[in-house]
């Protein structure tokens, strides 16, 4: 099999205050996959995400991105390859205009002038926000800001897009628009989420992180319909949602 885009081996991490968040995580994500990372609050999902681009390091185990180990000497390259979209777009959008914000990442990589302009417009175009290039981020709707946050990362041409709770705080229309955008992108996706219907809609494969270890890895349908597994890890389907009915209606 080809080199996985993301290869996490035996990753363990304890915060400086002694709280151990990860106890040996193993995870492989291959080119073109869309994987949902599920788990209850406090399972270590965010800690894992922060290891993927080397914000947190120093525990045991290793993270490799398309063959490049996440280590201090490779940080710039790793951060280009792994695009993290954080949960609160106001944390991600810190420049004065949408255009400047999308330009921030590629400009850090040394892209300039017309090439930079092309990257910015192309990334905004992929999320349907090209008309907003000169707007200050604060005046956009929440859904629009989330989409721009995705564009800021797409502009770096990442090999894997890591999304932290992409559907949180979105109204149903924005949630669907974002799903359309994500399914249309030709990029590997790892999506941290509590939104199980969203996981089923977007990600063929799901893994469950619970108490700092991966406890399940399989097709999203199989994971969501394994009632014993789900309840053992504080995962619950929302009221009225049945993956079996969804599969039946998709098939029929």
């Amino acid at each position: 099999m080809s080199t996985p885009v993301l290869d996490v081996r035996g990753l363990a991490y304890a915060y400086p205050d002694g709280h151990q968040a990860l106890y040996g995580v193993n995870l492989h994500v291959h080119q073109g996959e869309r994987v949902a990372l599920l788990g209850p609050n406090g399972a270590g999902k965010t800690t894992l995400v922060l290891h993927l681009n080397g914000i947190l390091t120093g525990g045991a185990g290793s993270v490799t991105v398309s063959g490049v180990p996440v280590a201090k000497r490779n940080l710039a390259e790793v951060r280009r390859r792994v695009g993290v979209v954080f949960q609160d777009p106001d944390d991600q959008l810190f420049m004065a205009t949408v255009g400047d914000d999308v330009a921030f990442g590629p400009a850090n990589l040394g892209v300039k002038g017309t090439a930079l302009e092309r990257r910015v417009l192309d990334a905004l175009d992929r999320v349907g926000m090209a008309d907003f290039v000169d707007r200050p981020p604060h005046h956009l709707s929440f859904g629009q800001r989330r989409r721009v946050a995705v564009a800021t990362v797409l502009a770096m041409e990442p090999e894997i897009l890591v999304l932290d709770e992409p559907s949180s705080n979105l109204d149903p229309a924005s949630r669907r628009e974002l799903a359309d955008i994500l399914t249309g992108l030709d990029v590997t996706v790892l999506m941290v989420t509590h939104d199980l219907p969203y996981a089923l809609q977007l990600c063929p494969r799901s893994v469950i992180l619970s108490d700092g270890v991966i406890v399940a890895d399989g097709s999203t349908y199989d994971v969501l319909t394994d009632d014993a597994l789900m309840s053992a890890h504080r995962l619950e389907l929302p009221f009225g949602f049945d993956p079996r009915a969804v599969r039946a209606s998709r098939a029929g």
Binding site: I55, R80, D91, Q92, F94, F104, G105, A107, L116, R135
Partner: protein
């Protein structure tokens, strides 16, 4: 600039004052203010001249007077202080409208009002005719240290975010029946301010993480693209 006129102090327009490069405007304002402050307070004609000059600039900029007047309320605390001065200051007293007031206090009040008003009016004119991001670019061209410009940029970006947060905290307080009516309520306000500070600090840390994630190495990269600015 497409629709980028969202800031509360900025009045969108295309007058010569709007088009002037930001660093020229900043330096002009700075020079003007130094001259005003250095002018002896009994040169009344000079002050009339200064006011005329500022009003002329406002007229050329086509920013409505009412727009500027409304924003001049920031000066109110100084006005109150200035009005108190003739009554508090000591020295030879004189009669004004049947009241006995201090002569030196009266002069100080006049000087404070005149210089303050000119300063506020001139600064508001600058703010009304210059986009915040152009102001920052102007400061950068004036070789203001990059770190200071970055800090100001973040301030402009997050001012609204923090103000919104403050407003939500106020709504939450009032929803539970609290309104600050007198001094005894101040401790609650102080705790809110503390909570706001912590939240903003944590946001700062998250923003920093987001910056690092996109390859930030300590200096803001040049995000200018060929066909703009």
């Amino acid at each position: 600039m497409g629709a980028g006129h969202g800031h509360k102090l900025h009045y969108h327009g295309h007058s010569p004052v709007h088009r002037l490069p930001a660093h020229v405007k900043i330096l002009t304002l700075l020079g003007f203010m130094l001259v005003v402050v250095a002018t002896p307070r009994d040169w009344y004609l000079a002050y009339a001249g200064y006011l005329g000059l500022v009003l002329a600039v406002v007229w050329v900029s086509r920013v409505p007077a009412s727009y500027l007047l409304k924003r001049m309320v920031v000066e109110v605390p100084f006005v109150v202080f200035a009005l108190l001065m003739p009554f508090i200051a000591t020295g030879t007293s004189t009669q004004v409208l049947g009241l006995s007031v201090s002569e030196s206090g009266l002069m100080s009040a006049w000087a404070l009002l005149a210089k303050g008003t000119l300063g506020v009016l001139a600064s508001l004119t600058l703010a009304a005719t210059t986009e915040p991001r152009d102001l920052l670019a102007g400061l950068e061209r004036m070789r203001v240290p990059n770190l200071l410009v970055q800090i100001m940029g973040f301030m402009i970006r997050y001012l609204d975010v923090v103000t919104d947060e403050m407003h939500r905290m106020k709504v939450a307080r009032e929803s539970r029946g609290f309104t600050a009516r007198n001094v005894r309520h101040w401790p609650v306000l102080a705790r809110s301010a503390g909570a706001l500070f912590i939240r903003s600090y944590e946001r700062g840390e998250r923003v920093h993480l987001a910056m690092l994630s996109r390859g930030y190495t300590g200096t803001l990269p040049d995000t200018r693209r060929s066909s703009r600015r």
